[in-house]
């Protein structure tokens, strides 16, 4: 099904199942520990051996010598695979650095081998006996000092061009009565999902099956084939349950490759889980950024000049963090420019983490907006409302098809200043301000005390683009009236199982209990996968398409005019004539498969999601410790398919935003070139005690431009702006303006009031 005209009334609009706050259908499995994750599949193949990965001990250089003798002789060892005996390996399309290092080493903790043994304990002990000698090469590990060497990026993860220019920024900025110019930094962050990357690999002849934990089944299958140099058809990827990803499991990673190589070498199935301590350096992370923001405005507060420049680093042939991208579309202003600069660093591979681009970009931009509002003597909410725009003031090019962040085809036509398909940004700001009690805010910082706590409130805009991606599904109807959906879509905690079931139930007119959803298998039709907050809208639209096809087939078989046929209560009917779906399907059942693909509606209209975050913090007068006391998000992001799971996506994103604001930072040892705090004790992510009760409000909205579901993304909108809202609240509490994340107490101490 091609979606190329705005959606009109369709079966989803019945909202009998879709749009209802529905418990997750996988809830009973997940809460009882019976949902099987990758490493736990004792049931799928017998005789599994254990692999343990050896990580490189240097950041950059070469392996001079590997001595495997002691490890090979260790009890239980079945095989050891290193670059020397792995055979010729390619590199996956979505990988920047090779997954198996040697002799060249590209980054710290890059896998240099896997030791396979009968038991986990044996594999771990033998891995410690692998002795490696390295020759180090000097590397570049410091973004600040590499900044001068950074150039425009060839390719952007969000698509589009590195730079944008509208009018004459310099002239407008110079002429602006009120000017603001500041530089911000955001930290290296780790996805740190709770389930480590894990895979069981089994070969049957030349056919490889991996039970793994991956957000993008087709990408994993394709990149495994490409890396091993075998055909795509020889690789099956199964990933029905995924213990979190946040972008960290978008790609084929070392656990999967080393399990496959280990299984081939050992001649039996092998399971590998990446050790937690390897994850930050072995896998991907969110790049740190340096961002310079310049704003020029009239005395009344109308922005006239906007510049946002962002510097980040990555491995050679990597991509920049697209932190300036949202600045092309969020606020009005005639003369403007954005630029992304990429430095080559020898740190581990940077890549997408929840809301790549916007999460760090909004973290900086929305402090700048707060600072500018203060400079102008305007309320921060009103300042944003004053600079709202209903058209894209800049004109970003669209992603190209080779981009890991989007599979969208290259844009051909460009519309100057396209309108937004739907933009209820101002409504979010106003409603949020009202609900949060914004009017009680003291505009002068440091004015509110609660015992030992300095209390402040802050806000920030939320913004994230909505991405459209082809997505396919297959729908079966059996003789008992059960509808089974199959798609290689994944559920990484997002609620895919449930919203897909709701979609199918709505479309086919059956109760939710009559729907079975099977996900995460490369033998199923290829979906959009989970990433870039595109999963919910696109995967259900694909299910919609397949269900439409099944409805046609059912109507035809039952000899109904499909246009007149009503699907409800497990039946299809026209007027008084009705048949149960079970009856129509008969013994043999019926099956339909289709996909959603998109025309150029997203060129005519810019599709984005909007919101506003409000945060109250307390800062300890004595120690500078910041604790979040209240949080509210108001979101306008199309139809909410399941308010319960959508709300969870937003509170989860808000939580990660608090982490980015207050504590998360992979610390770089700039001499050695690695992330030092590479475990969950030293890389702190929020715990229960850091997070208060969170409120989320969704505006009642449908966006018929986005898809037949009239939905958009929500999971990443929830993090965009949170960190800035926290930062602005800290400023409001203390009068200390911190421009470097995370806002740990050491950055506040000097500015806190003197104490006796």
């Amino acid at each position: 099904m091609k979606f190329d005209t705005p959606a009109t009334t369709n079966p989803i609009d019945q909202l009998k199942v879709v749009g209802k706050a529905t418990d997750r259908i996988d809830g009973p499995l997940k809460t009882t520990g019976t949902a099987p994750y990758a490493y736990e599949r004792h049931d799928v193949v017998p005789n599994q051996a254990y692999g343990y990965i050896v990580g490189a001990a240097i950041a950059r250089g070469r392996i001079v010598l590997m001595d495997l003798a002691a490890a090979k002789a260790a009890p239980g060892v079945l095989a050891i695979v290193t670059a020397e005996n792995a055979g010729r390996l390619g590199k996956g399309k979505f990988n920047t650095a090779p997954l198996l290092g040697g002799p060249e080493i590209q980054h710290y903790h890059q896998a240099v081998g896997v030791v396979v043994a009968e038991t986990f304990e044996q594999a771990r002990a033998a891995a410690q006996l692998v002795r490696v000698e390295y020759a180090r090469v000097k590397g570049a590990f410091d973004l600040e000092s590499a900044k001068e060497t950074a150039g425009p990026a060839k390719q952007l993860a969000g698509g589009g061009t590195s730079d944008s220019k509208v009018g004459d920024f310099d002239a407008a900025f110079t002429a602006a009565p009120v000017q603001f110019d500041a530089t911000y930094t955001t930290a290296y962050e780790s996805h740190s999902m709770m389930e480590p990357h894990a895979t069981i690999a089994a070969w049957e002849g030349d056919q490889l099956t991996i039970w793994t934990s991956n957000q993008m089944i087709a990408w994993a299958a394709g990149d495994m084939a490409q890396t091993l140099g075998i055909s795509r058809e020889k690789v099956r990827v199964i990933s029905p349950f995924i213990g979190g990803g946040f972008g960290g499991k978008l790609f084929l990673r070392a656990d999967a490759l080393m399990a496959a190589l280990g299984a081939r070498a050992a001649g039996r199935p092998v399971k590998v889980a990446l050790q937690r301590a390897l994850m930050p350096n072995n896998t991907t992370h969110r790049a740190a950024t340096i961002q310079r923001i310049r704003l020029g405005a009239t005395k009344e507060g109308k922005l006239t000049a906007i510049a946002h420049e962002s510097w980040s680093g990555d491995q050679p042939d990597g991509k920049p963090e697209t932190a300036a991208m949202q600045t092309r579309s969020l606020y009005a202003g005639a003369d403007r420019m954005t630029a992304h600069r990429l430095a080559v660093l020898d740190l581990p591979e940077a890549n997408a983490m929840r809301a790549p681009g916007e999460a760090p970009g909004m973290a900086a931009l929305e402090i700048a907006m707060d600072e500018m509002a203060e400079k102008l003597g305007l309320d921060p909410v009103e300042f944003r409302i004053l600079n709202d725009t209903q058209v894209v003031p800049d004109n970003p090019a669209k992603p190209d098809s080779s981009d890991p962040q989007s599979k969208k085809p290259e844009q051909t036509k460009r519309v100057a200043q396209p309108p937004f398909s739907k933009r209820q940004f101002v409504e979010c700001l106003r409603l949020g301000a009202k609900r949060f009690g914004w009017e009680k805010r003291h505009s002068k910082p440091g004015g509110v005390r609660d015992g030992r706590w300095l209390v402040g409130i802050g806000m920030a805009a939320a913004f994230r683009d909505n991405l459209l991606t082809k997505s396919a599904a297959r729908v079966r109807l059996d003789g008992r009236g059960t509808v089974t959906v199959e798609t290689d879509m994944t559920d990484i905690g997002t609620g895919s199982y449930t919203i897909i079931a709701q979609t199918a139930a709505e479309m086919m007119g059956v109760p939710l209990e009559q729907v079975v959803v099977r996900l995460g298998d490369s033998t199923f039709p290829e979906s959009c996968g989970s990433g870039g907050q595109w999963g919910g809208n696109n995967s259900t639209a694909g299910v919609y398409a397949a269900c439409m096809k099944l409805r046609e087939a059912i109507a035809q078989k039952a000899k109904f005019n499909v246009g007149d046929a009503v699907f409800a209560d497990g039946q299809v009917r026209v007027g008084d004539r009705r048949m149960s779906l079970a009856e129509v399907a008969g013994e043999q059942g019926m099956v339909a498969e289709d996909f959603i693909e998109y025309g150029d509606l997203d060129k005519q209209y810019h599709q984005s999601t909007f919101g506003a975050h409000f945060v109250e913090v307390g800062v300890d007068l004595y120690t500078g410790v910041t604790r979040v006391r209240r949080m509210l998000a108001v979101c306008a992001c199309g139809r909410i398919l399941n308010p319960k799971t959508a709300r969870s996506q937003v509170i989860g994103a808000m939580t990660m935003g608090v982490g980015a604001a207050l504590m998360e930072e992979l610390a770089v040892d700039k001499r050695i070139g690695f992330f030092v705090n590479h475990d969950l004790a030293t890389y702190e992510v929020p715990v229960h005690a850091d997070i208060p009760h969170q409120e989320v409000i969704f505006l009642d909205e449908t966006d018929p431009i986005s898809s037949p579901m009239k939905a958009k993304g929500v999971a990443e909108l929830g993090i965009c702006g949170v960190a800035a809202a926290v930062a602005n609240a800290i400023y409001n509490a203390t009068g200390v303006r911190v421009r470097n994340y995370p806002m740990t107490l050491d950055k506040l101490l000097d500015g806190l009031p003197e104490i006796a």
Binding site: P196, G244, R276
Partner: protein
């Protein structure tokens, strides 16, 4: 504030290591200084072990190195207890031993001879959910589900700890019986990390169960 001499020395020490053309990276582990130098190399030892898991007597023969978590997951196929870090830093492996919550990754199976262990599988099943499991479903107290069994086991034991009068960092009066305030609940559950950020909903689920059982 910095002592220049210190920096000088540290720099030199680093350079010795950093500029060496060849660095042997797997440093031979040193015997602890307090221990006699010659620790014999030992062959892996298997030991017999009997304990009770979820009400059933189980017998196992395991490597002495096997953690309780791996005994459950790899030997008994009870994979509900999760391995998130294997370092006691996340809480996903939380199980109850004698009714008390512990992290099963930082204890050896052989240390649990004769113990009674309850895992998430022993609390309820998909068809017969424990009230805490049902509350988690209702309140959407999870997303990816990986930390969830640990959260639930932890929550069940945590409520008992409050009842037993065990204080926490959030307890305002050490000499009074602790109450399950929101701050108490959040502090006491802080050993279970949820990277999906379901905390607000988890707190609601636990509060609901506590209200019902209070």
């Amino acid at each position: 504030m910095n002592h220049p001499d210190d920096l000088e020395i540290s720099r030199r020490e680093f350079l010795v290591m950093g500029t060496a053309a060849v660095a042997v990276t797997m440093l031979p582990p040193l015997a602890e200084a307090q221990a006699p130098p010659a620790a014999p190399v030992v062959k892996p030892a298997a030991v017999k072990l009997a304990f009770n898991v979820n009400g059933k007597a189980r017998e196992l023969e395991v490597d002495t190195r096997t953690t309780l978590l791996d005994a459950l997951r790899e030997h008994l196929n009870l994979t509900g207890s999760k391995k998130g870090c294997d370092q006691g830093q996340c809480g996903a492996c939380t199980v109850l031993v004698g009714g008390r919550r512990i992290v099963s990754c930082l204890t050896l199976a052989v240390m649990h001879q004769g113990d009674s262990i309850t895992t998430i599988e022993g609390l309820g099943t998909p068809d017969h959910l424990h009230p805490m499991q049902a509350a988690f479903v209702k309140c959407d107290g999870f997303q990816c589900g990986y930390c969830t069994p640990g959260q639930i086991c932890s929550a069940v034991a945590m409520l008992q700890e409050v009842k037993a009068g065990i204080p926490s960092h959030a307890t305002s009066d050490l000499t009074a019986a602790p109450q399950l305030t929101p701050a108490e609940l959040r502090e006491r559950m802080s050993g279970n990390i949820c990277r999906c950020g379901a905390y607000s909903n988890i707190a609601e689920a636990i509060t609901e169960v506590a209200g019902r059982t209070a």
